[in-house]
């Protein structure tokens, strides 16, 4: 096209990469629709926002850093239990509960990162899987603290800003979840467009070259892993606060596996991939489980195989390719 050959200067090229696009603004406007058009689906919308935040946190380490994890629910669950316990024993004020969940999940992530940053490939998958199982069984065994398989009961969430009560319809809950998701998204967007984000992509693209350019990859991975754990903890905390319970499921292997599926469906390493993947996954679950509750994973399995074979960069990757072709590039 005519504009392609303008002499661009390197700084402008970098700045342009992080500029907001129209499509992004539309995307966030669409997330407001449930308030007006589908008030009966607001609780589903909250679930989607929470799951999207969880997927976004995984995208930071998996999509950008190339660090695979099959135990990411550990941090989601730790955040959920911490926020739940915080509301029971300290206060039901939501924002401080969020910080508590995030900080504790981040501390656990920081500790785990010293192991995680040393390994790669199958070894890494097995280690994260193992760590996830350990976290799950600790939560299961510590019945006195977590309620074990009965779930953590008795969580009370005070009104947002002391003004907005969490209502039965879920208006406040969705506004809360969506607001936090948006803030977290701004943060992650900033990170991936930072020098640190570039180093993460370097690690993903060629870990072996990193020492030869003088980079300390392990320190980078530790930092990314800690941030990702904090964000996963935030997602878990919102779930605990808005549903006022924490089920053992929130720290389960199933949740770890689901979030990887969502990210792969949507497209890893492209910010919006996790968000779109989470939306597709949650809506599919809602619809398919209405048809055949026991077998709905069949459809997810089918979708996953189809996407991985035909759209290796996920649904978003496929769409952006189509868009590029349509633009005549």
């Amino acid at each position: 096209m005519g504009t392609a050959k303008l002499a661009i200067n390197p700084q402008i090229w970098f700045s342009a990469r992080s500029r907001w696009r129209m499509l992004e603004i539309y995307f966030w406007l669409v997330t407001l629709i449930p308030f007006f058009l589908f008030p009966s689906y607001l609780s589903l919308a909250s679930q989607i926002a929470i799951t999207a935040l969880f997927a976004l946190s995984l995208d930071l380490i998996l999509g950008y850093g190339g660090v695979v994890s099959l135990g990411h629910a550990a941090f989601f669950g730790i955040g959920a239990y911490t926020a739940g316990l915080y509301s029971i024993y300290v206060t039901g004020e939501p924002f401080s509960g969020l910080i508590a969940g995030s900080v504790f999940a981040g501390l656990c992530g920081f500790a785990a990162s010293f192991i995680v940053s040393r390994f790669r490939h199958l070894t890494l998958i097995m280690i994260t899987l193992g760590l996830g199982l350990i976290a799950q069984e600790i939560a299961n065994k510590a019945h006195w603290l977590t309620g074990g398989s009965d779930g953590l009961q008795g969580i009370k969430t005070l009104p947002l800003f002391g003004m907005f009560k969490f209502d039965l319809y879920g208006y406040v809950a969705y506004a809360y979840a969506l607001g936090i998701l948006f803030v977290a998204f701004l943060g992650v967007r900033r990170i991936v467009n930072s020098p640190f984000g570039l180093s993460l992509r370097g690690i993903r693209e060629n870990l072996m070259r990193m020492p030869a350019i003088g980079a300390d990859s392990r320190a980078h991975i530790r930092m990314a892993y800690t941030i990702a754990a904090m964000l996963a903890g935030v997602a878990g905390a919102i779930l605990a606060q808005t549903t006022q319970t924490v089920a053992l499921e929130s720290i389960s292997f199933q949740r770890s596996a689901d979030v990887v599926v969502m990210l792969v469906l949507g497209g890893a390493g492209r910010l919006y991939g996790g968000l779109i993947g989470a939306a597709i996954f949650m809506v599919a679950r809602d619809q398919f489980s209405g048809i055949a509750p026991q077998y709905w994973y069949f459809w997810i399995g089918l979708l996953l195989v189809g996407v991985v074979i035909f759209l290796p960069n996920g649904i978003l990757g496929g769409l952006s390719q189509l868009y590029a072709r349509w633009r005549g590039k």
């Binding site: 661009i8 390197p10 700084q11 090229w13 970098f14 700045s15 990469r17 992080s18 900033r190 990170i191 467009n193 930072s194 020098p195 640190f196 984000g197 570039l198 180093s199 992509r201 370097g202 993903r204 693209e205 060629n206 072996m208 070259r209 990193m210 020492p211 030869a212 350019i213 003088g214 980079a215 300390d216 320190a219 980078h220 930092m223 941030i227």
Partner: protein, 250 residues
Amino acid sequence: MSTALAARGVNKKFGSLVVANNINIALPTGARYALIGPNGAGKTTLINLLTGMLVPDGGDIMLAEDNVTSESPQARVRRGLARTFQINSLFPGLNPLEAVTLVVEERRKLAGQFWKNLGSHRESIDEAYEILSKLRLGDGCYQQTRELPYGRQRLLEIALALATKPKVLLLDEPAAGVPQEESGEIFEVVGGLSDELTLLFIEHDMHVVFRFATHIIVLVGGAIFAEGSPAEISADPGVREVYLGTRGHG
């Protein structure tokens, strides 16, 4: 003249195979050394030992006055010891501008800044672009590395190493796999590097070696077989027999 890089009595075995046998070398600052020898002589292994990608069984690696034998590869890079790879080891999904900027940011210790927009680090970006332009990579610098022609990728190998601002640069067959008519361009770049930079390169093409090297080390079976000026090496009957004679002149 001071020594920029030295190996002192370096030994390395893989099982029973001796890949480095009592290697002693000393590169004076600003020297242009060629490392030659038949396939399997241990040339790349020696570079791995010097850069810390392999740990020697015995002996010391000295960078200027400091013993760096126990230091990690990245620590040595930060001290000014850089290398390139015989087989491209690039960042396929980044474009050259991003890749070189990444190296510059790492060198300037800015790579941990996760709250800053990369676009605001003008100096790093400018420096990266300057390096790319010098290596005639400015034009294709927005194109993904995996889409670059192979010869450009070989130049990018060198650009990544240069962006660490090395004092000593080890080039492992910089023109490997490049058709002969294009390899000239790569060695023009190598020849045009600053005089203060100490250089060691592995190369099979004897025309290139004799043109660019001020000093030649011949490695055979993991040991130094001969060492000297190009004139001495080409006159050495032993070298002719084990190396030059069997392989001819490229």
